[in-house]
Symmetry: C2
Amino acid sequence: MKVVIIGIGLIGGSIALDIKRLHPNAEIAGIDNREEHLDRALELGLIDCKTTVETLNEADWVIVSVPVNTAVKLLPEVLDRIGDQTIVMDVGSTKNPICEAVQNHPKRRNFIAMHPIAGTEFSGPQAAVPGLFQDKTNIICEVEKTAFLLQEKALSLLVSMGMRIRYMEPKSHDRHIAYVSHLSHISAFMLGKTVIEKEKNERDIFDMAGSGFESTVRLAKSSPAMWTPIFQQNKTQVVETLEEYIANLVHFKELLQNDDYEAIFNEMESVNKIREILNGIGIKK
Amino acid sequence: MKVVIIGIGLIGGSIALDIKRLHPNAEIAGIDNREEHLDRALELGLIDCKTTVETLNEADWVIVSVPVNTAVKLLPEVLDRIGDQTIVMDVGSTKNPICEAVQNHPKRRNFIAMHPIAGTEFSGPQAAVPGLFQDKTNIICEVEKTAFLLQEKALSLLVSMGMRIRYMEPKSHDRHIAYVSHLSHISAFMLGKTVIEKEKNERDIFDMAGSGFESTVRLAKSSPAMWTPIFQQNKTQVVETLEEYIANLVHFKELLQNDDYEAIFNEMESVNKIREILNGIGIKK
């Protein structure tokens, strides 16, 4: 079993760890535009060797885990180079631009468009962790465009990694994920910005910030190189979510300015049901 | 050592657990306007008995851990009733209204105004946890208004609970805490609201929301009964932080609408330094 992972960071590296665990004889080769990532991935045992796109025709599996702006350019080239039975999977956080980029490719049937909803705020090969995908949702888009046999093989691997598979149209995926993921990131980044701007003396943040702030702002540690192209590709949906979020914040502020504390209480109480929803996520884990 | 805890929830209950651990012979009595909280606190062994404000004159310590709107009304009455050597401490998340409420009280010297920055999104006696305050910051306001001997006794107890003590003016406390705590809560509540409104089918949130969303929205589980009076008492500061936060979100949205991805990248990169600040919080733990 020959695997090539293009982009050996948090997600690519974690997939490598799972494949090694499940298929000890698999040979995993890495491609990355940052040589130091490849060296680190070798040291960490995520990959067995470095390779180049010239060897893709020999691969059984190609995992493309690169920023989404790179993915749309790279995927057609990857499909150009692979063998007839090679399975190519991407893991990007936007699905519509990626599905469009390959829709007319003669090897479209070798491709699985997916988004495993798993990760941390860290990046690079050192961020890879075994079992990252256990009980995590993986959304596959346009599964009907992948060849039957390759669908079956891919599903078998993904399920063995512990993933819960769901199917969705690319546009629906991008619309929903804007709410439950992209907006959370902007919310955290702008919260971090607001506090940093105000608290020029970082010692004050350091001393007064508790675990609540830490939790709310955690995603502001995320990689701008990964997230800028996600916001770019999902611009329309992200702008819409931001407008709704801003409108809700403005409304809350106005309630406060009008001393309408009964309404403020009710706002918060109605959002409290997020508890049950999050407990649901907890059970899923 | 006789201790009375008024408001036996997350904070009051956790203080009770620490006092029991540090002073096994302490007698801890509870007062709460919710009888079921007192019963639960007895069951959980947080308190030894129920009591009433009539017994406050016999107490060595009185811990007032009630919503801040109750605290401003209750504290003068508590001070009216205590003995000469009783130490009264409050734990509210706003400090200026509380300090003002007792500033001219003849027993002001028996009072310590403090804010231990510790907690979880849960509430009630069942949310109490031992060691909650270990390595957590506790901000004491107007310490110079407390009698020397009582300052010394209080500090000794608080330090033995593992708290890191900092001193601050009440107004500064309220201004800073609006950024690092109050704003985080509103940000989380409105994020939760935005997502719930959009995703009428909760199953979609359940399935697509990952740990990032969970972390960012965690504080939206918090108690409206506790938080409404905090926002009310710190209204001016909270409105100011909200205005800055909203302005930053609007700016980010405009960058996106103008396709200025270089600026978006730079915005996020400059906030990434929150990593080091949060690592600081981590070290503190």
